[in-house]
Symmetry: C2
Subunit: 264 residues, 2 copies
């Protein structure tokens, strides 16, 4: 936790006047990912689980497909560099192609937003269901897990769950990174994502949805709003998209047959 936050002296104004106080802010680390000696990208991220972030990012961008292809991962925390070496160097897309997959604004990966087949894979076919009570319990649990957020208000969180429990949890200043860290951890530790649920604190845009589909996750639950492209992709690709989970309320945007009204 100490590694992810920093104490600062600030001037705080309240109804009762101003005072110099100590405040805690979230750390931001520029992390450069180098794949087979080729510098790919610099992510701005929270300085935890950098190995998982690198692996999750490479899988999300289709630059890695099998865990067994990874020969080595060297993390240099101090310099903010992760070097990944793989089998089958030749599979790496060249820089020009890769560039198309990086966007900015608030995210990346805009070249394959419309067509399912651009993902090179089919729809999510899972028959899993979840009840609204289970969704509510998971989101409640999720909110209480977020330690860095409680301290700083400056991070997003994400989690992989089954119907009852949070299995993997992460926090990051970027909502994309938080999700890549989850998937990187699942890949490295052989934790299955089929038939599972992703929770996120952030908005569900096309990029978030595509990451989830790539790991074959059938249900994504957000406390926040989706975009129309997020909804369209969820509909096309067989994902149940639940948004605005607040108290006992929620909106189900797509594939609502996976949401059971009563207990199971």
């Amino acid at each position: 936790m100490d590694n992810e936050t920093e104490k600062l002296s600030i001037l705080k104004f309240t109804e009762r006047g101003s005072s110099n106080v100590e405040d805690i802010v979230v750390k931001e680390l520029p992390l450069t990912i180098i794949l087979n000696n080729k510098e790919l990208v610099t992510l701005l991220c929270s300085p935890a689980n950098l190995r998982y972030l690198a692996v999750g990012f490479l899988f999300s961008e289709s630059l890695l497909k099998n865990k067994d292809d990874i020969k080595k991962i060297i993390v240099d925390d101090r310099r903010g560099v992760v070097r990944v070496g793989t089998e089958g160097d030749e599979e790496l897309a060249d820089a020009t192609l890769f560039k198309r997959f990086i966007t900015s604004g608030c995210g990346r990966g805009a070249s394959f937003y419309s067509a399912a087949d651009a993902l090179g894979q089919g729809k999510v076919e899972s028959k899993i269901e979840i009840s609204t009570l289970e969704v509510i319990a998971l989101v409640n649990n999720f909110q209480h897990r977020s330690q860095v957020y409680r301290l700083t208000g400056g991070v997003h969180s994400a989690a992989l769950c089954d119907n009852k429990d949070i299995l993997v949890f992460s926090e990051d200043i970027g909502r994309h990174n938080a999700l890549d860290k989850i998937f990187g951890e699942c890949i490295m530790n052989d934790i299955g994502t089929d038939d599972h649920i992703i929770l996120t604190s952030g908005r569900v845009s096309s990029e978030i949805l595509l990451k989830v589909v790539k790991r074959n996750v059938p249900i994504i639950v957000s406390k926040s709003a989706p975009t129309n492209l997020g909804v369209r992709l969820a509909d096309d690709l067989g994902v149940t998209l639940v948004g605005f989970v607040r108290g006992k309320r929620m909106n189900v945007y797509t594939h609502d047959w996976r949401i059971a009204t009563n207990g199971r």
Copy 2:
């Protein structure tokens, strides 16, 4: 407004059960920016003010330096393409250099995060001051301007202000885009940014701070949290960074001499 949102049929769960209702979600558009026939980047953005977004982005990335260098801007809303043609083609950084300036996670631009001189410009020297009452009034006004947010909960907003009024306002699904749209509009319409104030709904990370410094804006005010790198850059580059403005409370992280406790 219609152009920026979409109506969908969803299944809504509340304490009283479920019902099919109409819901409004924010639109997300992949926008490709082409500079002098070279495809630069695809941003995921809200489909308004695309011309301003393209110009603001190019200035933020130092790919354009003078408005007069712009020979033409052609916006193709339907295809999501903006073509910008400039004088002095040769000034365009090549793709490899440019790639370093794009990051993902939740943003871009991580290569110049530490040193002021990497920006090729000095500190912000403005002597402007603002009172806490003025900050509170501006933020209050700012929150009431956000129409798309009120409808969808899915966008960030940004504004350029003087001490009393909001001069330019924008909303976008990405907090970086919202800011680039503000600056693009200022550049195209010859609206000065020196001695002004930027308001943002989003977190203040290094990238946001660097955009603000690039336009020589001395004060940034956010309803949300900063990162440690955002604070460090603000400190180094002479920017007053105010965060967590809520009701009558606020945190001043850097250069608090610009914040006056009483009215002016």
